[in-house]
Symmetry: C2
Subunit: 396 residues, 2 copies
Amino acid sequence: MKILVLGGDGFCGWPTALHLSAHGYDVTIVDNLIRRAIDAELDVQSLTPIRSIDERLSLWKEKSGHRIKFKNIDIAHNYHALIEALKEADPDAIVHFAEQRAAPYSMKSPRHKRYTVENNILGTHNLLCALVEANLDTHLVHLGTMGVYGYAGGRPIPEGYLTVTLPHGETQEIVHPYSPGSVYHATKCLDNVLFHFYNRNDGLRVTDLHQGIVWGTQTKETAIDPGLVNRFDYDGDYGTVLNRFLVEAAVGHPLTVHGTGGQTRAFIHITDTVQCVRLAIENPPAPADRVRILNQMTEVHRVRDLAKMVSETTGADIAYVENPRLEADENELLVENQGLQRLGLVPVSLQDGLMQEVLDVAERWRDRVDLAKIPCTSKWRSQPKPGESAMETAAE
Amino acid sequence: MKILVLGGDGFCGWPTALHLSAHGYDVTIVDNLIRRAIDAELDVQSLTPIRSIDERLSLWKEKSGHRIKFKNIDIAHNYHALIEALKEADPDAIVHFAEQRAAPYSMKSPRHKRYTVENNILGTHNLLCALVEANLDTHLVHLGTMGVYGYAGGRPIPEGYLTVTLPHGETQEIVHPYSPGSVYHATKCLDNVLFHFYNRNDGLRVTDLHQGIVWGTQTKETAIDPGLVNRFDYDGDYGTVLNRFLVEAAVGHPLTVHGTGGQTRAFIHITDTVQCVRLAIENPPAPADRVRILNQMTEVHRVRDLAKMVSETTGADIAYVENPRLEADENELLVENQGLQRLGLVPVSLQDGLMQEVLDVAERWRDRVDLAKIPCTSKWRSQPKPGESAMETAAE
């Protein structure tokens, strides 16, 4: 079975490519290596010393006996190369990670907002358009986010569709309304609209995995050799909350909780991410199926509870800092996630000792941590809203 | 009061710019003149002989005494020029027509799909981003389409928001779910998602006018002099249904009804379009308001009834041809459109003798009609869906 992994050099993409390769799939990574260039732009580096893509792939061949091919293509701007790659590979499935994936980065400046929209929307639309043009019956597995619905609801978030009663009493199943909290999240909503259209119009088979916040570093496959290590981000833009806490603890930095830490979020460990993608591929939608949406998360935690848990384990202090995001101080979150479990996912949990693995990684590479890069410097809004004082903006 | 009209050289933009100028507004047109380039691409021309933008504007100055300024900017690709224009103009309102607006054109080929997404989404997002960067409290009036909701409902389409009852009995007002019927319509859904985000995050004031199918040619202002005439499209890509019938009648061509003609659509005359835009500008949302969505249409007709009406008036034959769109043969359409009427719109109707004006225009310029350009050659899908025979595709 042939698989293209778009964005296969990144934090989720690399361990997914290895996992699929280890399971006997014929994997080709398509990536323009932009994530490495963004490290350079932000003057930051992965906590773990990752190798070049060529070194990674040679080493994987040597250690596993499996060959992963690589194509350097910017799918947002090189449609010709993309469609040639699709025709050449004729893949059974495509895993699409090739999007700018950090909300703070997407809000950093006008340039970053515009880059995120251009890269994510043109990339996704080129892919959909190319699948139709090449007349391929390929299953597209896209990494979306739980965040497309916002976090204001308080009622369970279903898997993509919501049954409602209309004013005249009729019951109807609708696509769950969007409520993105950043330009990044907005691009994932736009992707979703495009999936529904291409599914209806052209019969494209699409699974949109609405993922929670990923934590952890290593998977079974990346741990085979130090040269296969996964990237690990701890900086204010790309470092996700739990991983950031664990690095902060390892280097003796207070755990930086944004606002009151009352935000409740959905989490998943990277080892579960790669399982979920494989399960989605192995159980594709049927040709006539609508877009399949699965909530790819395994547990829900309040941010300040996570901080307390890490603090209790490590003795680290907790610092409450200004929240760069515009969001409610406190929210509840209930998520339906039976879909992937029905496909066979047996999730790991925060209680399974996996926090120690991340702490070990952070300890091992603590000399590579640049403390100045830890705070989030992106602002969701740089000016007060019209009619609002600057103080209100800061307080929101 | 200063107004930027983006796309002010086009079919809706030009009469709107003149109408606002005639009402004393200080108007600047921003346009990259791409619509004229598309005429060249399609080897077709406006039925009416339109003048160059410079000639139009000189003539307007001469006839009306009002000056309209012009800037040639591609807002999707020249962010720098866009933001400079915004800062220089410091407009009270922006009317945004600068999008590729034909569904058949958007489905013509992969290149046309990709152009429509790139032009419409990057243009709209650049505009939103620039308004925030320039810190302008400008009211953005965007031309959307009724078609963002699809035509399958059978229940009244409200103005953007829908009150539903959730499974647990809670009542909530949601953004009306999208169901775009073409890549063009999908881009208007994406715009809408972006408006909601920038409204919530940055307090941008946005009115999204969900317009029906525009018919007619001239407005009071474009009729002042032949050199101010509005463009008029009758070709298979840009010619909208009623205008196309009237041209067909004028040249003795059968009225080409797609499928059974059972499609029910919303209509508005161009003279009402320009009024609606002015009314939206003169009644802006308050700073804290959510995105305002108004259905900009005045009457609903079934396509085959329109054909019969034109046939009875003109004696033209009716030809039922294959429908290039993938849609239901027959649909009902109910639309709530009280918003603009509450703002003061007194609509004209098909019964008001305005069809004769279009027939006169068509008669006057019948020698310019290229009969070969009348059929719609775009196909919504060029291959059968996976698992479907070619015959089923053709029959759908």
